[in-house]
Amino acid sequence: MPKARLIDTSKCMACRGCQVACKQWNELPAVETKQEGTYENPPELSGSTWIRVEFRERPGEWLFRAHTCMHCTDASCEKVCPTGAISHQGEAVIIDQKWCIGCGYCVQACPFNVPHKDEITGTARKCRFCIDRITNGQKPACATTCPSGAIQFSERADLIAAAREKVQTLVADGHPNANLYGVDEMGGLHTMYILLDKPSAVGLPEAPQLATSTVLAQWLSGVITAGVVAVIPFWLLFRRKKRLEAERESKVGGTR
């Protein structure tokens, strides 16, 4: 039975314990930052920050969302990776740090802006779902440390059932747009969210697309343009018949 992570944003209090636990377990360096008028810190997800709480302020309320890898079933990063360095290991999408060449294609392909190039290692890095912990019967570091129970890790089916109940409670409790995100997106996410408002309110795409879903159409678009449309001007101007006609004309002109 596949496991998953459920992040209940209604329970998140933005303590950023998940950020610290992630850095500690994965031995990721801290980055020096400066105050830029927000409570968010560090300023963005990066090669050395794999989970980060985003703060969004609205009149009368805060929306917090821990931004991290979704571990998609159909993962754009894995599909575009030219070396095969990105692969699934069970539920987890892992970037093989010994094989990644640092081309940055996964950075461009991810619909959730998760992988980032690390300046020091020269590779793309992101959340590994604490593969070393979950394959030994433990929860990821973020879920283990979360003091409010906002980040849970369990059987995916059980989490979905519980989350649906919670969403109904939230709707009844004055959050008409509350929803569960990630059940079907990208073939099913292994990081799902209970959201208080529609996904775009916390920076999630309403309809994330697999980057390679249009690959055949994009190739056809380019090949047809070159192989058919762009042939025409050369055919019009260089075909032999036209050249011969031109020569005949110039000969006729010459005899006059």
């Binding site: 575009v80 249009t214 090949v223 050369f234």
Partner: protein
Amino acid sequence: MAWGAPIYIYLWLAGMAGGAYFAAFLAERFAGEANRQLLRLATYLGIPLAVIGVILLVVDLGNPLRFWHLFARFDVISPMSMGTWILLLWVGIAVVMAIFWWVENRLTEQTARSLRRTTGVLAWVNLVLAVLLIAYTGVLLAVSNQPLWAGTLLLPCLFVASAISTGVAILIITAVTGRAWAIPNRTVGRLAEADAIVILIELAVLIGYAIWLGASAMAGTGEALRLLTTGVLAAPFWVGVVLLALLVPFGLEVFNWGKEIEKKAVWRAVVASSACVILGGLILRAVIVIGGQI
């Protein structure tokens, strides 16, 4: 920004190399003078252009010394993997063709004839690869999740048209400045006229691309379009792409349509329009690559 100057310069160079080959092959083939001077010129130009592009690409990798990992995999779904093989094959065959041309005059007539036949076949193979190569420069970006790149199906069309236009331009500039190539003035004139039509196609594609971006259902495409038309990239877009790459060279080429290139003013106009096309092609790649990541 994960992809910067090395990437857009590479896309520009690889497109120009493939575009020049495509144009030279078709021009000579339709004229019934296969594999003569123009194709040789395109091949000799294309090899260094593509190689410089690849060097930029490798240096830009986070781990340049691991570049060979690309050759351990053949993945039709990943455009970068396909591009790696297309580029390797295209450059490899171009080098073989160049060597054959170089040695064919030093051989007996019989050996030379069979060598020429082989070169003829290779030239066709490289035409197909050139089509794939110039398409790939657009497909690479289009298969992503950046709205400016992935929001339509027209980015490969745009890059293909620009690749052929810049390819023709570099052929023209080399032909008229390097007299040793002995490319007939008539051919150069025809190339400039063909370029005018290619620019017209490119302009139509650009308009279609903008309309499609504005109407696309993908989130963020409207903002991406405004970035080009009124946002921080408006100046390079309107001046560098619309004027320099399209309208100015189109105007110059149409104005000099059918005129004798021996005349100094016509010669200057043809060189100027080609230079505009080449520079504008670089600005197009830069605007799209940077714009996709803002």
